[in-house]
């Protein structure tokens, strides 16, 4: 790290740093902890303030499964996340490949079209998109949630950046071998790009899993995905906190598990996405 780290530092200051960071980290994690703590309390203990939930109970989960088709919702959300992420990856890979492997007229303009999406807020396009989906008969379907998200400008820009660092010699060698551009893409480029593709795919899948606005618009009459199911569970007078926390916990579980397993990759993917 920086040089000044090496200089001896008063103990008190170092402790002070730990104190501030400790308090902030706790504040960040506490709601997540409380969510799971409430979900595993016995029905009679839901209102307890004790930090450690004891005795443990799965009653809230059983209740949640009984009241809502939680498994169905999780499955639907998984389908949306996986197909949306895979579709975005494929579309972005092809586009990024075109930008890096050729020089062609209108290249700059086409590239700016992708950058420009940053400036188009969802709000400015949501009504025509809604109308188009209804014409296509895709309202209230999972396909309606997936299709409009398939072109991720972020994905194109990130992969283009990665590909730009790809050694030109490999592309040249492939050409010498008489490979078509299509087989070069799949046999030379993709294997070398695998880590970047994996990181981006995870990022896109998490984003799709947690997406709220678009599904809320497309699926106004149903609760097919877990974010919407959760919403229908909330808000009514006198919430049933145990099952609600259990459902919320299940809605976050896949992403949190993924995070625990692949922490560094996910963090890196998020950082790169912010710093294009």
């Amino acid at each position: 790290m920086t040089i000044d780290d090496a200089v001896g530092e008063p103990r008190v200051r170092r402790l002070g740093g730990h104190l501030v960071l400790g308090v902030l980290s706790l504040a960040c994690v506490f709601p997540v902890y409380w969510l799971y703590a409430t979900s595993v309390r016995a029905p009679g203990d839901v209102y307890s303030l004790s930090v450690l939930p004891w005795p443990l109970s799965t009653a809230s989960y059983a209740d949640a499964f009984a009241k809502n088709d939680v498994l169905g919702m999780l499955l639907n959300t998984g389908v949306v996340a996986v197909f949306s992420a895979l579709g975005q990856l494929l579309v972005a890979l092809l586009a990024a490949y075109a930008f890096v492997a050729w020089r062609f007229p209108l290249q700059r303009l086409l590239y700016l079209m992708f950058v420009g999406t940053w400036l188009v807020p969802f709000q400015a396009t949501m009504l025509p998109n809604y109308v188009l989906l209804s014409r296509l008969g895709l309202l209230e379907t999972l396909a309606g949630v997936i299709v409009p998200t398939l072109c991720s400008a972020l994905g194109v820009l990130l992969l283009r950046e990665h590909l730009a660092g790809f050694p030109k010699e490999l592309l040249d060698a492939a050409r010498m071998d008489g490979r078509s551009s299509w087989s070069t893409l799949w046999l030379v480029v993709v294997p070398a790009l695998r880590p970047a593709l994996a990181a981006l795919g995870i990022l896109l899948a998490i984003t799709a899993w947690n997406e709220y606005f678009w599904p809320a618009m497309v699926l106004q009459r149903s609760n097919a995905v877990v974010q919407l199911g959760l919403r229908s569970f909330m808000g009514t007078e006198g919430n049933d906190w145990g099952p609600l926390m259990a459902t919320a916990g299940l809605a976050c579980l896949p992403v949190l598990v993924l995070y625990l397993v692949l922490q560094r990759h996910i963090v890196n993917a998020f950082v790169r996405s912010g710093l294009k």
Partner: protein, 319 residues
């Protein structure tokens, strides 16, 4: 973005054909095969972009000049700029814009101040603790917005919620005009702070440590180094965070407002984004919503241009 990094890969055909047919007399088929590949690879992405982003944007402009109730089959009526007049005439617009500004200002501590503090402090911590702090601060980012809304509704519950019981108060946080907006800001801040911390951390690692070392050799204290060297060099990152906050705050708050307050109480959490949603999908007033969308888009561009200009001015520090 650097544009000088392109690699030119002539497709195999070109090399073979060149010897046989002079370039000027290529058959159209050969030519097409030579020129087409990049466009073919771009087609899916560009088609999707046009269909789902640019064409709807143009349609929103058109829609904003019409009166329509969003029901397929019913006629659209051309009304000129009446929607804009109506929009600018409603007191709701001014209020919602003001509330949006409040949200943005309220978000800045969470997206700029706290992240800088955390990033500077974690840099001094060594070893495993550093990673642990970062991982913990980042965790809320992965919680689905609605799940976050649910647990905060539980924490802030007026009678049984942990916050009131620990503080010994009986505030109805989400249903009181004063505290509802504050709650939305804090919850959103909790959600996105971890991402901002990562951005600042990445910005810090990009700073050449020689500057700080040189200043320390000259006898600068640690806080002086932070104040006069690190923070100015970090200014492009900070400008990026401000830009992100300004452009995305209203968007980040949407799931929380929609699930926790529905814009209330008495409209006190209705920001511009939520107002648009209400015009379109509650009142089915497509023309008005489209007009608001167009203004929103124009505002986006102006703000982004100003902030990018500012960021460019600031970034000459590290030449």
């Amino acid at each position: 973005m650097v544009s000088g990094t392109f690699v030119e890969v002539a497709p195999p055909l070109r090399a073979r054909e060149a010897g046989v047919v002079p370039a000027s007399r290529e058959s159209w088929w050969t030519r097409a095969r030579r020129i087409a590949p990049p466009y073919l690879y771009l087609t899916p992405a560009v088609v999707l972009l046009v269909v789902w982003t640019y064409q709807p944007l143009a349609q929103t402009f058109v829609l904003s000049l019409h009166s329509w109730n969003l029901v397929p089959g019913t006629p659209m009526e051309e009304v000129g700029i009446a929607n804009y007049e109506r929009l600018l005439g409603t007191p709701e617009l001014g209020r919602s814009v003001w509330r949006t500004v409040v949200v943005i200002l309220g978000m800045l501590p969470f997206t700029v101040v706290i992240p800088v503090l955390v990033a500077l402090l974690t840099r001094r911590v060594r070893g495993r603790a550093q990673g642990v702090y970062r991982a913990l601060v980042f965790a809320p980012m992965l919680v689905a917005p609605v799940a976050g809304a649910a647990v905060w509704q539980w924490l802030l519950d007026p009678s049984a919620g942990a916050v009131n019981r620990v503080l010994g108060t009986d505030v109805n946080w989400l249903n009181t005009t004063g505290t509802a907006q504050l709650s939305i800001i804090v919850i959103t801040g909790w959600h996105v702070a971890g991402f901002a911390v990562l951005v600042v951390t990445a910005g810090l690692t990009g700073i050449n440590p020689d500057y700080a070392a040189a200043a320390q050799v000259d006898g600068a204290s640690r806080s002086q180094v932070t104040r006069w060297i690190t923070l100015p060099l970090l200014s492009p990152t900070l400008a990026f965070l401000v830009l992100m906050t300004v452009l995305l705050s209203a968007q980040w708050t949407f799931p929380l407002i929609d699930t926790l307050t529905q814009g209330g109480p008495v409209g006190s959490t209705t920001n511009i984004y939520y107002l648009l949603w209400e015009y379109g999908f509650r009142h089915h007033d497509a023309g008005l919503a489209a007009a608001a969308g167009v203004l929103f888009f124009a505002g986006f561009i102006v703000v982004a241009a100003l902030l990018t200009r500012l960021a460019e001015r600031l970034s000459h520090h590290d030449d």
